[in-house]
């Protein structure tokens, strides 16, 4: 099994599977994806598949709540950029929320905070137009 360890808040490490756990909620007709854990090269394919299904499922808005993601690298950014392109083609509004400071910093370095619609909370993202 493909396993790896991730940085924890307390400086500890925890083994994780390559499949990324993603909770899927539906709030006010909006699909909310809540991935849990690191999004790196080994887990990006799993994440990509969850997002692709959500965008193709027909909801007018999809929110990706990243509040449980404390590490992401360029493979995660690539997955989200691809998702945004797919969402535009499908006329689905894609929004991000709950970004930890370290993850938000990656978006800012890549200037992607200007490309995505990013809100602080799920409620804000659902309410945003």
């Amino acid at each position: 099994m493909n396993r790896h360890r991730t940085l924890r808040k307390k400086g500890e490490f925890q083994m994780q599977d390559a499949a990324l756990p993603v909770r899927i909620d539906s709030l006010d007709g909006v699909t909310v994806l809540v991935p849990r854990g690191d999004i790196d090269m080994s887990r990006a394919p799993s994440f990509r598949e969850h997002v692709r299904r959500a965008i193709n499922a027909g909801a007018p808005k999809v929110v990706i709540d990243l509040s449980e993601v404390e590490y992401m690298d360029s493979s995660g950014l690539a997955t989200l950029v691809e998702a945004m392109r797919n969402a535009k083609q499908a006329s689905v509004a894609l929004m991000l929320c709950g970004l930890h400071q370290k993850v938000l910093a990656i978006f800012e370095i890549a200037r992607l905070h200007q490309f995505f619609k990013i809100e602080a909370t799920v409620e804000d993202a659902i309410a945003a137009s």
Binding site: H4, G11, F13, A18, D73, S74, T79, R85, I109, A110
Partner: protein
């Protein structure tokens, strides 16, 4: 003297080496922000080495990772066996016209998070250094 390991493109091997280096940095007292930066930069450099450097080589071709750690400084070098590349020729992913391209952000992240980044002339080796910021 630097420690040196060979790695094939196997996720377990890659993670084991990254974890070893991050754990050593943690033992030396580097803060979580530095550990985050270190892991991110190593991941990007190793992925670049296999995906770009070794694109036309046999899948089992190894790369090498060299590392030295001290309380003041972390150095990690990643070298592949490919033909090399010219860093200046890589499109800038932060330009408006490139923002919608999914890939190409690894180098930008490495440069942002490392104190120093150097490529050899051939372009098949990247040397990265993290230093403790001087207190004001």
């Amino acid at each position: 003297m630097a420690d040196k390991v060979s790695l094939i493109n196997d996720r377990d091997q890659i993670n084991a080496v990254q974890d070893l280096i991050v754990e050593r940095a943690e033992e030396l007292g580097f803060p979580s922000a530095t550990l985050f930066a270190l892991r991110l930069a190593m991941e990007e450099a190793i992925v670049n080495a296999f995906h770009h450097g070794h694109r036309d080589l046999a899948p089992e071709t190894p790369i090498t990772v060299e590392y030295t750690l001290s309380p003041e400084r972390i150095r990690v070098a990643v070298e592949d066996q490919g033909p090399g590349f010219t860093p200046a020729a890589v499109p800038d992913p932060t330009l408006d016209e490139n923002l919608e391209n999914p890939g190409g952000r690894g180098l930008v992240l490495i440069r942002a998070y490392m104190s120093r980044v150097r490529h050899n002339d051939r372009g098949n080796r990247v040397e990265m250094e993290l230093t403790v910021p001087e207190e004001l």
